[in-house]
Symmetry: C2
Subunit: 427 residues, 2 copies
């Protein structure tokens, strides 16, 4: 990892002293020309001569009206109804790593329910000494933790199994968000109910269920439940939004989003998995030979270039270009991301904005110069387990074409000479 | 610092195995009682029998309607008009460290202006080889960085000089927010304009100015300008909100918020400070002897208990109680926070949710048991320079009672036996 950090710093320095300086010439020429001719500089503008608006402090703030297209979007043909629907984070328009709740992807199975804090109850029962019921106020009395984690739907990128279909990073990779959660470790609540966390955990599971009509029940092995699962009530500092499980949801770091049960009402300690609908008919992985495998909870290392991309074309012509994207791994921390401009024939190591953190989004940048020729842009993530993000061909050799979930293949954008980009397959 | 980390982990373990276990008895009794009698558990609730709402993906998401009081608030008598106004972050209701933009405090001097990306220009001129004008699209072509920083108004807690006045952490300490910024280092843009960052910086300053009518011009010494100042266009991943300087603001880590010029339009390299209105008649510190001192840019180490507090009283009675708050330093990272229940006579070391990061908010927790007796709650922050947050008495010895800015005194909340809290002074 330190080798990689050196590489990253090294390539950045080379960029600042060499590549950017070269590109900077062109940039300087074009912007310096604007200085004398541009009325936005030579004339006093209206916004410098009048008061702007006051801020209505009695209302929760919203984005600038000029950013009206940076919103979640759905794909109408993908789900039957808005109450059994999914929408996608506008990752092509975001930067950094935090996802604001207001544009964070959301999936529900029977609609987002309206559940007041005063009406909230969480029951822990089954193989425990003392079955307990917690109110929201009870939960606030236990020691809390804060962690930034990504939440990715198992079906993210799922349409790509059958070929390049959805044209935009928001739609191919936008079933993901990354927030700072505040909550109580599930371990603490299980101990409160008298479960012996130091005892024999063999065969022990928890079955978790939401308060909505779908209930969305899932089984989680006890080792994971005691490791890092949170019963969370805040995201990015504030209360969970209604569609994210207000007032309380489960956070299952690194594992598929369907396990992050919203409006969580019940946690039962069992002596085996329940084999619920949500883990048998759904959320299993069809293989090339027609059989399916289950219990594939962890989201493997993955990445995507968010800009340039089909919804974020290059508009500034040749010269300095920032290629950027996101990488993540459900098994650890991202420690390297490579970017290819030629569909995987050659690779350059990208700069990570910060050292990768466990089970959280990592932002990468490749600061480069574009000569205007066509690019087949790809990114390839690696995590600290040594895992390398696979190609689509490698995945299909095992999984075939009929899977839905857990597609973490390398994504390809064809960037044309006019700067427009398209979702394509590399043969 | 490692000593402190050990202390923190140690006290947490003691809490989990000792203090909480003791308190847990009471908690278990009360919540177990709810299990059989509570119709919220025994009866199937409406939200489990019907579809919830679909999510309107065409609109930016808002908080739950049940969180309508978690908003910025202003103090009507404090400023003359909404276009020359300030509003306060609801820190009493938040947890974790990230502040969502929609409730992040905001101060403007002539209103929040409406400035489109296409109309945006930034000029860098003065003592540079090549004066340059950058469009928004130009800025996006330079290498970006991501950092979480707090922004605190120099006047935060300013009313406390004259005594305990505003009753609530939102009003005494809410002129602060903490966001993940994405932007271009100012150093990069100065180098682009041909400023010799490796040359003699003695006496060199930058004068920075916004595009609004107030222009809010401020002088910044070149050493700081080249150190960590960002020309930023994203906060928490998305575009800056209008009231936070859309589309581009300056980020001056650790230094008073007035320097974080919004809608930044001009950066002039000068051979001295401008001594503008905003740094002579304002943003200087009156001392006890009636003179004033200036250039007090850095925000010293500070902390406040956010809950319990006047707007967040204790409602659950005696037993386990989470005391939590925020700590920060403009000169480095927080490495320890102590909490007192008796007005500073005795102190307990709080648990930091994460190791402190430079110039960013740190969340602290004291997981304790409350016997119902009156408390004089205080918190005391320390940073990695060795600085310890002072008492109000210590500050007044130097600054007197007539200052406005840079009040980083220890705050006291009187918590009564009924759980209600009040802003008080400790004599």
């Amino acid at each position: 990892m330190s080798d990689n950090e050196n590489d990253t710093v090294g390539s950045r320095r080379a960029f600042l002293s060499g590549a950017v300086a070269a590109g900077a010439g062109a940039l300087t020429t074009s912007v310096a020309a604007a200085q004398t001719a541009d009325p936005l500089i030579t004339e006093i503008q209206p916004w410098a001569q009048e008061f702007g608006d006051g801020v209505d402090a009695a209302r929760y703030g919203l984005p600038s009206e000029h950013e009206g297209d940076v919103i979640r979007r759905n794909v109408e043909w993908l789900t039957a109804d808005t109450v059994s629907s999914i929408n996608f984070t506008p990752i092509h328009a975001l930067d950094g790593t935090i996802t604001p709740q207001g544009c964070a992807f959301e999936r529900h199975h029977s609609g987002a329910i309206d559940l007041k804090k005063d009406d909230y109850r969480l029951m822990i029962h089954g193989l425990v000494d003392t079955p307990l019921v917690f109110s929201y106020a009870d939960l606030e009395r236990f020691p809390r933790e804060n962690h930034v984690y990504f939440c990715e739907c198992a079906a993210n990128t799922g349409m790509e199994w059958a070929g390049a279909q959805l044209n935009g990073a928001q739609f191919t990779h936008g079933m993901i968000h990354n927030m700072e959660y505040t909550g109580v470790p599930l371990r603490t609540l299980l101990e409160e109910a008298g479960f012996d966390t130091a005892g024999d955990l063999t065969g022990k599971w928890v079955y978790v269920e939401g308060a909505d009509a779908s209930s969305n029940g899932r089984s989680i092995p006890m080792e994971k439940a005691l490791d890092d699962v949170l019963v969370a009530f805040k995201a990015n500092g504030e209360a969970l939004r209604k569609e994210h499980g207000y007032p309380v949801r489960l956070v299952v770091p690194g594992w598929e989003g369907n396990l992050w049960v919203k409006w969580i009402r019940r946690i039962e300690v069992t002596d085996g998995p329940v084999e619920s609908r949500e883990e048998t008919s759904k959320y299993t992985d069809t293989l090339d030979d027609g059989t399916s495998r289950k219990w594939t909870w962890a989201m493997d290392a993955k990445s995507v270039v968010t800009s340039p991309s089909p919804q974020a074309p290059i508009k500034h012509g040749t010269g300095p270009l920032v290629i950027t994207g996101l990488a993540w791994s459900g098994r650890g921390a991202i420690n390297r991301v490579d970017v290819s401009k030629d569909g995987g024939k050659s690779w350059e190591t990208a700069r990570l904005a910060k050292p990768g953190e466990k089970m959280a989004l990592t932002r990468f940048y490749l600061d480069t110069n574009w000569d205007g020729s066509e690019m087949m842009l790809q990114s390839r993530a690696m995590d600290d387990t040594g895992y390398v993000q696979p190609t689509k061909t490698q995945l299909r050799e095992v999984r075939g074409l009929n899977s839905i979930y857990h597609n973490n293949c390398i994504q390809t954008w064809l960037v044309r000479s006019n700067g427009e980009a398209e979702n394509v397959e590399v043969s």
